[in-house]
């Protein structure tokens, strides 16, 4: 009888709890430590809690001109890279999803190449080429290198999104008088919209936090937020500068997450990956 069976929820899921604890320790604990450091003025060994909290280092960090210029630069870079990437990749993704042309599959998988090999080697090789082209240390040099990093997301996810749009909907739009371009703009794009928004968001946030390319190609003229943070951490003995910057860096991803939850809803990311 059902009544004699042990109720499943009565059992304690030790494995699940174990995973939860491990994840909390690995992710949340460092975040708490960094967050605490950002609001600490004095914290000496062997104390477990800081001796003195305060906003002194926030004042000091935020009054630095290089922090503000790095933040502005990072936002500009992420915006430009994401827009360019969308302009290039979305039509390409549509072509991959809806058309057959010679070399289609090879080209499609070639976008994996940038992620299939150790990235640093690739970046060094590109840096050598950029040096010849006088792109090292320029805004557009960094835009180009970061653009490469977004290609995979911005092609693969939209391809899945476009493929899942009902072709009859597109035909119905042609039937009432819409040109192919108008069909793409008014029917296909809105239908694939939530999933594409997910790709754009990933692209923006990924670019914002991108460090290797920005550092290798951008140095010394271009300093983005993450690059600045690394410089702070490497060169300054004051831990709080780095901590304040990393708390500042949480802001865009937090906003992005909130936006994603509101606009995209569940399932869109999964659908984007062909789920």
């Amino acid at each position: 009888m059902a009544a004699t069976l042990p109720a499943p929820r009565g059992r304690i899921d030790f494995v699940g709890i174990g995973f939860a604890i491990a994840l909390s320790v690995a992710i949340i604990f460092p975040l708490i430590v960094v967050g605490t450091w950002a609001f600490t003025e004095v914290w000496r060994y062997p104390n477990i809690v800081p001796q003195q909290f305060g906003l002194r280092f926030w004042n000091q960090t935020l009054s630095r001109a290089d922090v503000w210029s790095a933040l502005t630069l990072s936002l500009q870079l992420s915006t430009v890279v994401t827009l360019l990437s969308a302009a290039i990749c979305l039509p390409a993704a549509y072509a991959f999803a809806r058309m057959t042309f010679p070399g289609r599959n090879v080209l499609f998988f070639s976008f994996l190449a940038g992620h299939a090999f150790p990235k640093f080697g690739l970046l060094v090789a590109i840096a050598a080429i950029f040096l010849q082209l006088n792109l090292i240390g320029t805004f557009w040099g960094v835009v180009l290198i970061q653009l490469v990093g977004t290609l995979l997301f911005m092609i693969w996810i939209p391809v899945a999104a476009f493929q899942s749009v009902d072709r009859r909907m597109e035909e119905a739009a042609r039937d009432v008088g819409a040109s192919p371009l108008r069909v793409f703009w008014s029917i296909t794009l809105p239908q694939a919209g939530p999933t594409i928004a997910a790709a754009v968001l990933l692209s923006f946030v990924g670019t914002f936090y991108e460090t290797e390319g920005a550092w290798l190609i951008g140095a010394p003229g271009i300093r983005t937020m993450p690059v600045l943070m690394i410089t702070f951490i490497n060169n300054q003995m004051v831990i709080q500068y780095g901590a304040v910057l990393s708390v500042l860096l949480w802001v865009p991803s937090f906003i992005a997450l909130m936006f994603a939850r509101r606009v995209i809803g569940g399932g869109a990311f999964a659908r984007g990956f062909g789920g």
Partner: protein, 363 residues
């Protein structure tokens, strides 16, 4: 108000002929059904008229103007898809208004026309609904309204009711016929359901493997099917293979006069034209099953060679399984080489009853 001329149109996909040398003239305001089993080329034909497929050969003109090179958006046709294909990111109003906006009509005019067409399809006040808030039948009405609002010269319906339940399908097809007749809009209607074709069409085109089997009015397609395929596809039909010799079609259970040349032939007789009578002699056939439908009874009769035929009788009362019976064919037709060679109407057949039924002619 338009006339559609299709001349010698063929469509090849690779080496397979989806449509083979098709021709028809659809008159102004006429409703023509393209009827056939799946794979008969009826949807391909409709998609070619709509501009979604390009014919390999042939020509298509609407009011005398060649349309074959026009893309769908330039054709004066309106298509309603089986899957209704409503745009789920727009509400009902925007779905219908989309085509009008593309034509840059003033806002007030768009609103007036959308309201009018919503009323026409019986969905007044549904403009602000989202498409997923509608039932299947309502969605299909919106799809119909979306096409009608643009006043196309030719309306194309691609199995529009196939995904709906039987009751709704019957109601909607009557409504569509009413609207079509009120607007006098030239219409092509693709279906695989013969009852749908028989009930709404002015003419029916029966297609098989991309070829035309028959083009005729519904009554004619039913009463005088041109080929054995049409005979078997439309309604119920008993088909019996036999041989004509000395002016009579002969089979173990049939022997009927047929003034045609000797040779093999297929006899086709509808259940309602095949009466049975209690066997006068030994009786060559027996009752296999009796099904009482209330309005009539269907008697399955088994012939000596194991073949089964259906006979429709007014009542089930006097028939029991294994009972020996004689067959009394009324109207029948004989087919040879995919064509009709002989047709006997009921009166003639009854006047000269089959050999086994000398004394049991039904009044």
């Amino acid at each position: 108000m338009a006339r559609l001329d299709i001349a010698n149109v063929s469509k090849l996909f690779g080496s397979t002929k989806a449509v083979d040398d098709f021709s028809i003239t659809v008159e102004d305001g006429e409703l023509v059904c393209l009827l056939g089993p799946s794979g008969s080329g009826k949807s391909t034909l409709l998609r070619m008229i709509g501009g979604f497929e390009k014919p390999t050969y042939g020509s298509m003109t609407i009011d005398g103007e060649e349309v074959i090179h026009l893309p769908p958006e330039k054709r004066p046709t309106g298509m309603v898809f089986q899957s209704h294909a409503l745009w789920s990111h727009m509400n009902v109003f925007k779905n219908i208004a989309f085509g009008l906006k593309l034509r840059r009509l003033p806002k007030a005019e768009i609103e007036r026309r959308v309201e009018a067409v919503l009323e026409l399809v019986g969905l007044s006040g549904y403009g602000q609904r989202l498409t997923h808030q509608l039932s299947g039948g309502q969605q299909q009405r919106v799809a119909l309204a979306r096409s009608l609002v643009l006043e196309p010269k030719i309306l194309l319906l691609d199995e529009p009711f196939a995904s709906l339940d039987q009751h709704l399908r019957e109601r909607l097809r009557e409504e569509v016929r009413d609207i079509q007749q009120r607007l006098k809009i030239t219409t092509l209607f693709v279906t695989h359901a013969q009852d749908e074709a028989l009930s709404v069409a002015d003419r029916i085109v029966v297609l098989r493997d991309g070829r035309t089997e028959q083009i005729a009015r519904p009554a004619e397609v039913y009463r005088e099917p041109a080929t054995p395929f049409v005979a078997g596809f439309i309604g119920q039909m008993n088909l019996v293979s036999g041989v004509v010799a000395d002016g009579r079609f002969g089979h173990s259970a049939f022997n009927v006069p047929a003034a045609v040349a000797d040779g093999p032939a297929t006899l086709a007789v509808r259940p309602e034209a095949l009466a049975i009578a209690p066997a006068s002699g030994a009786g060559m056939a027996h009752v296999h099953r009796v099904t009482d439908y209330g309005t009539h009874a269907m008697i399955d009769v088994e012939l000596p060679d194991g073949e089964r035929l259906k006979s429709m009788m007014p009542t089930a009362d006097q028939w029991t399984p294994m009972q020996k019976v004689d067959l009394v064919p009324g109207a029948f037709a004989l087919y040879r080489d995919n064509g009709v060679i002989y047709r006997a109407d009921a009166a003639l057949a009854l006047a000269k009853p089959a050999r086994k039924t000398r004394s049991t002619v039904h009044a």
